[in-house]
Homo-oligomer: 244 residues x 2
DNA sequence: GCTCAAAAAATTGTCGACAATATGCTCGAC
DNA sequence: GTCGAGCATATTGTCGACAATTTTTTGAGC
């Protein structure tokens, strides 16, 4: 349990990096990315001095970074016992998805109220691309379009608070991705649901947009719940795309 | 602008406080309370060395505390320019309320699914107390009961994620409290709405509970929106109770 | 008297060192 | 052989000092 690679030799020269950028911010971005992208495993211990060496900053900076990440919900920190990458249980993942759904429904409502014609056009275009990907059976591309569409809706909502909260929830979920795309017939229904959402936004029908998003996301949550409860105690073979 | 009281002489003896409690956590709780309870004004500068002296800890601890509070959305921090108490605009307050509403609706749904008989009994009791307060015209007591009821619903939901997010949003709002109670007839309708919510929870009707909470909170948000837009540029004379 | 540049002060960013605490290990008792 | 007490190690918590940056003040020139 102690065969850690002999500590990478400080990827940045101790002074500073590219430009006047602060060391702590750089370290924060790097460590956050390492967690979110899965390079650090859940429950893995985060020893301050090791991180300091690896990130090329002092221990104080690391400490600040860890405090931020803890508040963000990406690491847990027991007093005098150090920090670990937070382990998100399946039950928690479901909760996070539900909370995200509630906030995305809010975002859809506000998108209907505030979306510009250009934004609506972008949504329709993305929808068209998704349709192509779907017919071609390219589920990866479909999921990409899916993500772009949801991101655009959030942007169009002009709702900073919802956007901020959703982003935070998303970060905690990256490790937990289910292959709802693979549920038979799910993608086709998903596409229809997305079309309804965009239609509602295009016609500035706030109630319809919120309802359509809620309807869509309730299906996603249901699928997720079935998957987690139906699946036996053994772990998922290959975690894959979450398909909102 | 520099007539700060001459710096209180470290309320805690430098060593430690009551028991093995950590200095940083104590400092965090204290400073957070100072912000949330309004003892520190919005936009007020938070100079690290001053806080360190006032809280009886070193500057490093203060720095960690500020990082946490920034992530929590209670302070803003510009690089090399220090931290300030975050100023929440009226538009932001409305956004926060909307997000909170979306999450409380989710909580109500889950409360309907998970509330114990004891919790339902507590809700009914609280409702009865609110009725008494309402008839007596004691809006302060009514608002207290209101807060207790909402807290109980969130607790009964067993939804950690929603609870966490709502708590965070609430903290940012403490300074921004409107007197929706004073809107004529609002309280009576509010009471009816609350009754419907509890009824739905008691009968384990998740859809009804969520819908009732959504209906209730949409009225709150509407009232809030009217108040902020209708009011002239001059500030509210007396910020008062938010009335969910 | 006003403007702008340079020095001075204030404040933040960073680091290494020391103290406090938890963890792991050794070794004797049974 | 197992258990527990005491010691050694590893790691975190805290602090003060120095460097870097921003803000304020000073003062010379017009």
């Amino acid at each position: 349990m102690d065969d850690v690679p002999p500590r990478q030799p400080a990827r940045t020269p101790p002074g500073r990096d590219g430009r006047g950028r602060m060391a702590a911010d750089e370290a924060y971005a790097r460590l956050r990315d390492d967690i979110v992208k899965g390079r650090l495993m859940p429950n893995e211990r985060l020893v301050e001095v090791d991180l300091a060496a690896a990130l090329g900053v002092g221990r104080t900076a690391v400490r600040t970074v860890l405090a931020r990440l803890e508040q963000e919900g990406l690491v847990v920190h027991e007093p005098n016992r150090g920090a670990r990458v937070r382990m998100v249980t399946e039950a928690e993942a479901l909760e996070i998805t539900q909370a995200r759904a509630a906030l995305e429904a809010l975002a859809a409502r506000h998108a209907a109220l505030h979306a510009t014609p250009a934004e609506v056009a972008f949504m329709r275009e993305t929808l068209a691309q998704m349709s192509v990907s779907l017919k071609a059976g390219d589920l990866l591309a479909y999921s990409d379009g899916n993500a772009r569409l949801h991101a655009k809706i959030i942007e169009a909502s002009r709702h900073q608070t919802a956007a901020r909260l959703i982003a935070g929830l998303k970060a905690q979920m990256v490790r937990f991705q289910y292959r709802t795309v693979l549920v038979p017939g799910r993608s086709a229904r998903s596409f229809a649901e997305h079309t309804r959402i965009v239609d509602a936004i295009a016609t500035a029908d706030a109630d319809a947009a919120e309802a359509a998003m809620r309807y869509h996301l309730s299906h996603v949550a249901d699928t997720l719940r079935e998957m987690t409860s139906a699946r036996a105690p053994h772990r998922t073979p290959v975690p894959d795309l979450v398909h909102f």
